[in-house]
């Protein structure tokens, strides 16, 4: 649309300079491809990914998918959404209902995931339709309230959702499928690398889909509505339909992430796993990374969620192993300071990169125009 001269387009770096520059240029331009290859090769060379770390990184991928879903609402369409975790949860519970032994459905992984993503999109539409009139922060509070309602309902409808016990066991993908004599489901349950690849593949698929959406007619309509709803309407874009489609898309992707979440944990976990904290965490990741920017969203999740689920436990046990803190004082343990470090990081990034770590080209260009 409007590439300002300050923005660095991919064409600026190719075809110039030495081999080193060319390689850097390639990495910069095709970061996605490079990252995908690196992540695909990683489990083969890093033994730790076959263990706990593999599970943690799989979680990161799942949160990346969730954040990309939220990005459709918040980043592209500019609707603040404070209840994405509810859709994450609905996806997870639907998937569990369609697969666990206590229900008669017991669908295959792919079918169940598709059905739950679709139904989650339907739920998104149902919430979206009556609340489209609401502006900005009023819509935000509706999504927040919806999140709370969903959480309490999941907890209280014990006959359906298992209450605080959650629904388990969610069978791994391919349970019962024999490949060369071994059960594929058992392979999934034993080696986290199977889920690692499944989540990576899904993430790659979602990234590709988001790329295409970004530049499609619908993607541009989302941005148009974000920038100026009235002007967009005047140009013949139906804001209602555009916003509803953002709601549906966002919910569907979040629901898909929920399916993977339930499958990889082999349980839906309890409803508290889908509370406001989770929504806020994902929202922070999207904003921190850069609204509307796919690499930004991925980076935001890697940093924020990675900090809490990978780095913090690692640092805590490192402190224990080096025996820095024999008395067990919370002032000397990493987890004692986790919240403050986290908060400070959010503040500092917003202070020095208010448009996010990797702002989308469109956003960056606008900001430079405006000031």
């Amino acid at each position: 649309m409007n590439t300002s001269p300050t923005a660095t387009g991919p064409s600026d770096v190719t075809d110039t300079g030495s081999l080193r520059d060319r390689m850097l240029g390639f990495v910069r331009e095709r970061w996605d491809f490079v990252a995908l290859v690196a992540l695909a090769v990683a489990p083969l060379v890093v033994p730790a990914l076959g263990g706990a770390l593999g599970g943690q990184v799989t979680m990161l991928f799942i949160y990346c998918i969730l954040a990309l879903g939220l990005n459709v609402m918040v980043g592209y369409t500019g609707l603040v959404h404070l209840g994405i975790a509810a859709f994450f949860g609905i996806g997870a519970y639907l998937f569990a209902i369609l697969t666990v032994p206590m229900y008669p459905f017991q669908m295959r992984f792919v079918t169940a995931a598709a059905v739950s993503a679709l139904v989650t999109a339907g739920v998104g539409l149902t919430l979206g339709a009556p609340t489209l009139r609401l502006r900005g922060d009023y819509l935000a509070i509706v999504t927040l309230g919806f999140g709370e309602v969903v959480k309490v309902t999941l907890r209280n409808l014990e006959q359906i959702t298992g209450g605080m016990k959650g629904l388990n066991p969610v069978p791994p993908p391919g349970a019962g499928l024999k490949i060369g004599g071994t059960d594929l489901g058992l392979a999934f349950a034993i080696d986290p690398r199977w889920f690692y690849y499944l989540a990576l593949l899904t993430l790659a698929g979602v990234v590709v889909a988001m790329r295409r959406l970004e530049n499609s007619r619908l993607g541009r309509a989302w941005v148009a509505v974000r920038e100026d709803e009235l002007a967009a309407e005047a140009m013949g874009v139906s804001a209602t339909r555009v916003k509803l489609s953002a709601f549906a898309m966002s919910s569907a992707v979040a629901g898909l992430a929920g399916c993977l979440y339930a499958a990889s944990l082999s349980t839906t976990a309890d409803p508290n796993a889908y509370d406001f904290n989770r929504s806020i965490m994902v929202l922070c990741a999207v904003i921190l990374g850069g609204l509307g920017s796919i690499p930004g969203t991925l980076l935001g999740v890697a940093l924020l969620v990675g900090f809490d689920t990978v780095l913090a436990p690692w640092a805590d046990s490192a402190i224990q192993q080096w025996n820095i803190n024999p008395s067990g004082s919370s002032l000397l343990s990493f987890s004692g300071w986790r919240l403050a470090i986290f908060g400070l990081a959010l503040i500092l990034v917003m202070r020095y990169r208010p448009e996010g770590l990797v702002p989308s080209r469109r956003m960056a260009a606008e900001l430079h125009e405006a000031h």
């Binding site: 918040v74 009235l230 403050a340 986290f342 400070l344 917003m350």
Partner: protein, 303 residues
């Protein structure tokens, strides 16, 4: 009937407390369009200070007038503390972001809330702490089975005058006029000679002061404080502010009272386990029919 009245009484008292917290949200939102996520945790820190003061001064042993004067002192000190803290946070964190994208200060506010929580964790420790019962638990309504104690009275006695004072401040004083001007158009306000940053700082101070006062009332009324209390506190208060029409002072009060009442009555007639969900379900329904909140004014579209 007595049961119903009792529940209404509880609901209104709880609601008044929610309203007081909601005022802090609505003031700040009104002036810089920021949902101040750290407000609930600011109140938590206020409550920490109140608890420390109570134990240092040995207030649990005070009686009669001394207690009431002590409570007034607590309200003042904690109000000043929270107000000052709020101003400091505005200066350090939000002011540099005045021209940043709309959601940047929101994330910073979440960051501030995490830092506050960590401070509270060091101050109070991980477990909930008991806040001593300073006020007599005698029933002020004799007979009839209705219960209304000094604690309940305190909430009303503090909240109502503060609310009136706030309305007067915003409606009639010079500062209030400046606040309204900045809220409508900061650039135009600056052009007519209003020091916008000072007015915003003043708003943060007033909001923080109310929060500090609320934290003392909270401690005396609920009698338990903990480092995680800010979250639920903030959630209801923020909801109340939006329900009433965010930015509107009477709106925040009405929103708070409605939430208190709905929560109490749904706990009584539907079940405690559904009370939280019903509050938010009603919020959604109200907003669907009144998109600007109960007392909010519709904003005109700029073309």
């Amino acid at each position: 009937m007595v049961f119903f009245l009792q529940q209404c009484l509880i609901g209104l008292t709880n609601g008044a407390l929610v309203a007081m917290v909601a005022l802090g949200y609505t003031m700040v939102y009104g002036i810089i369009r920021l949902i101040n996520f750290a407000h609930g945790d600011l109140i938590m820190l206020g409550a920490c200070l109140a608890l420390t003061l109570v134990s240092v001064l040995g207030m649990a042993a005070w009686t009669g007038t001394a207690t009431w004067l002590g409570v007034a002192l607590l309200v003042l000190l904690c109000g000043l503390f929270c107000g000052g803290l709020n101003v400091a946070v505005d200066r350090l964190v939000y002011r540099p972001l005045r021209n940043a994208p709309k959601l940047a200060p929101l994330v910073s506010a979440i960051g501030v809330s995490f830092i506050f929580m960590n401070l509270g964790l060091f101050w109070l420790g991980p477990a909930d702490r008991s806040f001593p019962e300073l006020l007599p638990a005698t029933n002020l309504l004799a007979g009839e089975g209705l219960q209304f104690t000094a604690k309940d009275l305190l909430v009303i006695v503090v909240v109502v005058p503060l609310m009136i004072a706030l309305s007067v401040l915003v409606k009639t004083t010079r500062l209030g006029k400046a606040m309204r001007a900045v809220s409508q158009d900061p650039t135009a306000a600056a052009l007519v000679g209003i020091d916008v940053d000072r007015v915003i700082a003043a708003t943060f101070f007033v909001g923080g002061f109310l929060g500090g006062a609320a934290s003392v009332i909270y401690g005396l009324y609920i009698n338990t404080i903990g480092f995680q209390m800010g979250f639920q506190n903030g959630l209801y208060a923020f909801t109340a502010a939006v329900l009433g029409g965010i930015g509107s002072i009477p709106g925040a009060v009405v929103g708070g009272l409605v939430i208190g009442l709905v929560r109490a009555l749904s706990s009584a007639y539907v079940g405690e386990r559904w009370a939280g969900a019903i509050v938010f379900a009603i919020l959604i329904v109200i907003l669907v029919f009144r998109p600007e909140g109960l007392l909010g004014r519709g904003t005109k579209e700029k073309v």
